[in-house]
């Protein structure tokens, strides 16, 4: 039976048919028809953010925690421009997102109408694909396609800009399209798999290098299986943390700018690098010419444009990394590699990971370890961006893929709190902890109101050094200690701010027993802010100076 529906109703129905159950957004004039239709939906819960960037990061948090495409909504003009940072962040970290924006009516496009901006043009470089919809009919094709594109191959954000007259246009619907889903991935060439297996078998000092693609493709267990069978010491990028449990005997933890010294030195000596779903980012490789200088390279990635982009691969395999690993696994020989394992153990003994103060909950590492001691592997760990992010990456015992939500590629301060809210909305049975800094939290502090309204099970651990810590660190180390614009001369009373937003808060500085206060705060359900002052002079060490080779780390 044919139904007559408006473009707005069609959009909402198509979202329902995609299985979307939670969306985050903010309404405004140009998207009000969609909000009117959304208000009638019994299937979709709308979470009202306090800033569109917050809505974008909430959708990211849902997508990162679950692996499913998530949706955010904004109106035209400033609503759309406020979303852009969250969309760009999703592009760089390959997060599947569908952003729906209202646009002024088609007749007014190009007239500098109220709240008109060229959302389509602005979003081209930061989306995987984008659409400007010109009729209600077209929505039936565009919305499922947007979801298919977001989830297919290398995931990414898709923006759909819908003019208001398209939202109000009523058409007769004879049938519904199939929901958009990820397209089947190309199979790896058998010859390449065989060549890769032969290289792994022949290598004396191989290292497995896991990137975010391993998490995205759900391939973490296969990567661990391959490492165990072929005896491969394994490094992870910031994006891949959790893919192999950090306490696995083959795990060398994070590589790169703030990786452990023994990890980067092991890479310096390896004769084969097996890159899986990783893109040789400059923060991981350091000076590229000096990265794994003796190594042959096997590079497996679903995105053909990543092969040979930074480093030429001896064997390049374009495939879903999960499928490729499944084919590689039976093809490689079982090996233990005692000489290489002994060499790595010697490096680890010579350069043990330095986590000074990790038994003192009033130090930065000690606080992170004390928080971890309150939680298990089911917890979700989000961060903002800065020193705290790197310390958590170094010190938190991450053991599960999708446990770790962090802004890697774009490095967006303000990511943490809204992304953590999104994760808590998507996975209400988990405890979500968000490590943040006093610089980062202020960039999306308004979302504390959303956290209070939704009563999400979120514990925000605010590491407060009253400064922009990484800037402070770089100015201290590389700019002759000329500290400028990196110290806050006046800082808010964050405990009072949180309480003002309706969130319980505890100040560990005032607690007689900080561990007990932490356990109490984390075990209570609902949102809570945990404030702890840290020493501004603490640095993220070790560190590869910008532009230097990874072997030339400083500190620790």
């Amino acid at each position: 039976m044919n139904e007559t529906l408006t473009g707005a109703q069609i959009t909402v129905r198509l979202l329902e048919r995609q299985g979307i159950r939670t969306v985050a957004g903010i309404p405004g004039g140009a998207i009000l028809p969609i909000y009117d239709a959304l208000g009638q939906s019994t299937a979709i819960r709308h979470v009202l953010a306090r800033h569109e960037q917050g809505a974008g990061f909430m959708a990211q948090g849902m997508a990162r925690a679950t692996g499913e495409t998530a949706v955010c909504l904004a109106s035209s003009g400033p609503g759309a421009t406020n979303l852009l940072t969250a969309i760009a962040d999703a592009k760089l970290d390959s997060i599947p997102l569908v952003a729906i924006t209202g646009q002024v009516p088609q007749a007014m496009i190009g007239t500098d109408a109220f709240q008109e901006v060229d959302t389509y043009g602005l979003s081209i470089p930061i989306t995987k694909h984008n659409f400007l919809v010109s009729s209600a009919e077209e929505l039936l094709e565009v919305i499922p396609r947007a979801f298919a594109i977001a989830a297919s191959g290398r995931p990414g954000p898709v923006l759909v800009d819908i003019p208001k007259d398209v939202q109000t246009q009523a058409i007769e619907i004879a049938g519904w399209p199939e929901p958009g889903k990820a397209a089947p991935t190309p199979a790896a060439e058998p010859a390449s798999i065989a060549a890769a297996a032969a290289m792994i078998d022949a290598a004396e000092r191989p290292i497995l290098y896991l990137g975010g693609g391993v998490v995205h493709s759900g391939a973490a267990p296969l990567a661990v299986d391959l490492a165990e069978k072929a005896g491969l010491p394994t490094v992870m990028t910031l994006m891949a943390l959790g893919a192999m449990p950090v306490d696995h005997p083959l795990s060398l933890g994070m590589l790169g700018m703030h990786g452990a010294r023994h990890t980067n030195l092991a890479l310096d000596e390896c004769d084969l690098l097996i890159a899986v779903g990783a893109r040789f980012d400059d923060r991981a490789t350091g000076k590229v010419a000096a990265f794994c200088p003796q190594a042959k390279i096997i590079h497996i990635d679903i995105d053909p444009a990543e092969l040979d982009k930074i480093k030429a691969a001896h064997v390049g395999i374009v495939a879903d990394v999960g499928q490729a690993l499944a084919e590689l696994l039976p093809a490689v020989a079982t090996r233990a590699r005692p000489a290489w394992t002994a060499r790595i153990a010697a490096l680890q003994a010579a350069f043990p990971p330095a986590l000074p103060g990790c038994d003192d909950p009033r130090s930065h590492f000690g606080l992170i370890r004390a928080v971890a001691a309150c939680l298990d592997r089911d917890a979700v760990v989000a961060t903002d961006v800065g020193q705290h992010q790197m310390w958590v990456a170094q010190a938190y015992p991450l053991r599960r893929p999708r446990q770790w939500l962090t802004s890697g590629g774009l490095g967006t301060m303000g990511f943490g709190v809204p992304a953590a809210i999104g994760a808590a909305l998507a996975e209400p049975d988990r405890t979500v902890v968000c490590f943040t800094g006093d610089g980062s939290i202020l960039m999306n502090i308004q979302e504390l109101a959303t956290a209070a309204e939704e009563s999400v099970n979120l514990k925000i651990v605010l590491m407060d050094n009253a400064s922009l810590g990484l800037v402070h660190q770089q100015q201290t180390l590389f700019y002759g200690e000329r500290l400028f614009a990196s110290q806050f001369r006046r800082t808010p009373d964050f405990v009072a701010v949180a309480r003002g937003f309706g969130i319980s808060a505890v100040d560990l500085d005032q607690a007689a027993n900080p561990c007990a206060a932490l356990i109490d705060a984390i075990s209570r359900p609902g949102p809570c802010l945990i404030h702890a002052s840290i020493d501004v002079e603490q640095k993220v060490y070790p560190m590869v100076p910008p532009g230097a080779a990874n072997r030339d780390m400083i500190g620790a």
Binding site: I124, P125, H129, I149, D303, A305
Partner: protein, 101 residues
């Protein structure tokens, strides 16, 4: 799309790409923007409707440098791009008289 100096014209080697795309309002912007955002000058552009009118063929003349293969792989990833091929410069040589007048 700045005009190059004659001396520079002779120094640079060129590539002409033939790109088949689905035709809609944003596709030129997607394709050309990919080059301009990477500071790669597009020296000549031609776009014509192709086949059933739902497709177009774009020819671009760009500087041929070691980064071009990576750029072509990025172009191939665009959703509306069906195919990218390198072709000879004949098409722009035949049109060069238009710019002279």
């Amino acid at each position: 799309m700045n005009a190059s100096l004659p001396a520079e014209n002779q120094r640079l080697s060129r590539a002409v790409l033939r790109i088949d795309v689905t035709d809609h309002a944003g596709v030129m912007s997607h394709v050309v923007g990919l080059f301009s955002r990477r500071a790669c000058n597009v020296e000549a552009i031609l776009c014509l409707p192709a086949g059933d009118g739902r497709h177009s063929r774009i020819w671009l003349q760009v500087e041929d440098n070691p980064r071009l293969p990576a750029m072509i792989r990025q172009v191939e990833k665009l959703i509306d791009v069906q195919s990218v091929a390198r072709c000879d410069a004949g098409i722009f040589e035949r049109l060069s008289g238009l710019a002279a007048g």
